[in-house]
């Protein structure tokens, strides 16, 4: 299905003919995807449809059995890298950080976001620390910067994880069901924050979400997966009803 997203923006990520299976069970079959700069893309689909697997392949956590992922974000420091590490900010579905009570402060978690760009055998520079300070302030986390991460609420923890993903100034922000397990008010604040980031920082957002209403109202474009791409197009004409129909269609397959 043709993508109606603004065609004048350059492509920053191309996934071609991706296939992946866990054992004999195929999870992704011949999935192709093109993401343009500043797009706000929602990835939807029923449980087990391959959403998380696709996102993990896109950020380089899994290697596809067939197919390629190509980054064309035109940054000098990532030429020839696939995945292009400096371009990606990743917020995982259930990070170990949220499952265990680590003795680590909010500031220390956000500082991790600078580690990828500095390389092995280096220490955080004054510039890295300044970037952490700025992100803490911008994310409204200054009150809790010295608190232990495990002492925060679910919503605040997700805010910290986004700040960690953003501190390295990525071009693409990939989020895997970030609102799982947080209350409705925190969810709304979280979506507002994402929208604000997208609008002001011109960042490309790839977001896996179960909430069909939020998907249809917030996204610029929706990719609906059920092992294959069932729909890839603008969110507007589809709406919540269209997404429910796709869910039913996927259930009947």
């Amino acid at each position: 299905m043709p993508v109606d997203a603004p065609r004048n923006r350059p492509v920053c990520l191309t996934a071609s003919n991706i296939s992946f299976s866990y054992g004999a069970e195929p999870v992704l079959e011949d999935v192709s995807l093109e993401v343009r700069q500043e797009e706000f893309v929602g990835i939807a689909g029923p449980n087990g449809s391959g959403k998380t697997t696709l996102l993990k392949i896109l950020v380089g956590l899994l290697m596809p059995e067939t197919g390629t992922v190509e980054f064309t974000c035109h940054m000098d420091d990532c030429e020839g890298m696939s995945p292009c590490r400096p371009c990606i900010g990743y917020v995982p579905q259930q990070p170990v950080l949220r499952q265990q009570q680590f003795p680590v402060t909010v500031r220390e978690v956000i500082e991790m976001g600078t580690y990828g760009q500095s390389g092995l055998f280096t220490r955080p520079t004054p510039e890295d620390r300044a970037a952490v300070d700025t992100t803490i302030s911008e994310a409204g986390l200054y009150r809790v910067a010295g608190e232990l991460f495990s002492d925060l609420s679910g919503g605040q923890q997700q805010r910290v994880l986004i700040a960690r993903a953003l501190v390295g100034n990525p071009h693409i922000l990939a989020l895997d069901e970030p609102t799982n397990g947080i209350d409705a008010k925190s969810k709304q604040e979280f979506y507002a924050l994402l929208k604000h980031l997208h609008d002001t920082h011109k960042i490309t957002v790839l977001l896996i979400l179960h909430d069909l209403t939020e998907l249809s109202s917030m996204m610029e474009r929706i990719v609906f997966l059920h092992h294959r791409v069932l729909y890839d197009g603008p969110a507007q004409p589809l709406g919540t009803k269209g997404l429910w129909n796709l869910m039913l269609q996927a259930g009947n397959q």
């Binding site: 760009q117 803490i136 009150r143 924050l193 604000h196």
Partner: protein, 299 residues
């Protein structure tokens, strides 16, 4: 008299060796505990025992064969992981395998060498200059590698997926970490013995974690607890003529009880104090609160 054991050369050697082991074990211990790999040092300790027995059987200096065996053991754990064997099961296989090899080699030698017992239970007061040099050399290697790759260990411990996405060579670093644990086990084996080696790594770290401090301060607390345990344990051992390894480990357990009790009582004590005293302040170094505070969520 306090620290009277320092009047003797063996006491000085014991203290130097003990401090090297304390610092090395506690530094690694934080990462081991937080990665839920507390049994890995026990597993590698038993592999080291197999290596020590091999040394006695072949006539090679036992600590050299122990180093070789723990490196092989570290690679073995990761090879088993590739075969989709869970990490605790992989450690259990090594645990039993190392011990079994040791027992078989001892039986081949007809009688157990008397010195073998010192490796099982440790003889910190009986170590010689060579043992101290070996401990210093291996300890230095472990601490330098640990320090050079500090932020990588932190990232892998707190969020492995994030470390991978950031481009860190996670698998290679995990293997290197297991080798570092193995080398530390060998160093500590001569001092506190195979059976107690894991406690020196794990208990100071667990005791420090109870305090719920920021990460860097937790590491410093673990180091302080480990160093204090060695000094106090040696003093008890000398004063009351009891086994040094056991005394050191019992002191670490006493520290754990203290910090765990403190962690539970402190919030209660804090609640009973005047509120103004506990007005929130960000104590992180280098952080200054912005003059004009923005609304949370506004980037």
């Amino acid at each position: 008299m306090v620290l009277e054991f320092l009047m003797f050369k063996f006491g000085v050697r014991a203290l130097i060796g003990g401090l090297i082991v304390a610092v090395t074990c506690a530094s690694l211990g934080i990462f081991i505990v937080l990665r839920r790999l507390s049994l890995i040092s026990d597993g590698l300790g038993h592999v080291a025992f197999g290596g020590i027995a091999l040394g006695f059987w072949t006539g090679i200096y036992p600590l050299y064969t122990a180093v070789a065996s723990v490196i092989a053991g570290a690679l073995g754990i990761h090879a088993l992981g590739k075969l989709r064997v869970a990490s605790d099961a992989a450690i259990a296989i090594l645990f039993s395998g190392g011990l079994a090899i040791g027992i078989v080699l001892i039986s081949l030698a007809q009688s157990a060498p008397a010195d073998l017992l010192s490796y099982l239970f440790g003889t910190i007061l009986g170590i010689n200059d060579n043992d101290v040099y070996l401990a210093a050399g291996l300890g230095m290697i472990v601490l330098v590698v640990l320090g050079l790759l500090w932020k990588e260990w932190v990232a892998i411990t707190l969020d492995t997926d994030f470390a991978r996405v950031a481009g860190m060579p996670v698998t290679a670093l995990e293997i290197l970490f297991t080798v570092l644990v193995g080398l530390t086990v060998v160093v500590a084996t001569r001092l506190v013995g195979v059976l107690l080696v894991s406690s020196l790594m794990i208990i100071p770290a667990i005791a420090a974690i109870q305090l719920r401090l920021p990460f860097r301060r937790t590491v410093i607390a673990a180091l302080a607890i480990a160093i204090a345990s060695v000094v106090i344990g040696l003093q008890f051992s000398f004063s009351y003529n009891i086994a040094s390894g056991g005394a050191i480990v019992l002191v670490t357990i006493a520290f754990f009880i203290l910090t765990a009790s403190f962690a539970r009582l402190w919030p209660k004590m804090k609640r009973d104090l005047p509120v103004d005293t506990w007005k929130h302040q960000c104590t992180e170094p280098g952080y200054t609160e912005p003059e004009e505070q923005k609304e949370p969520g506004k980037f």
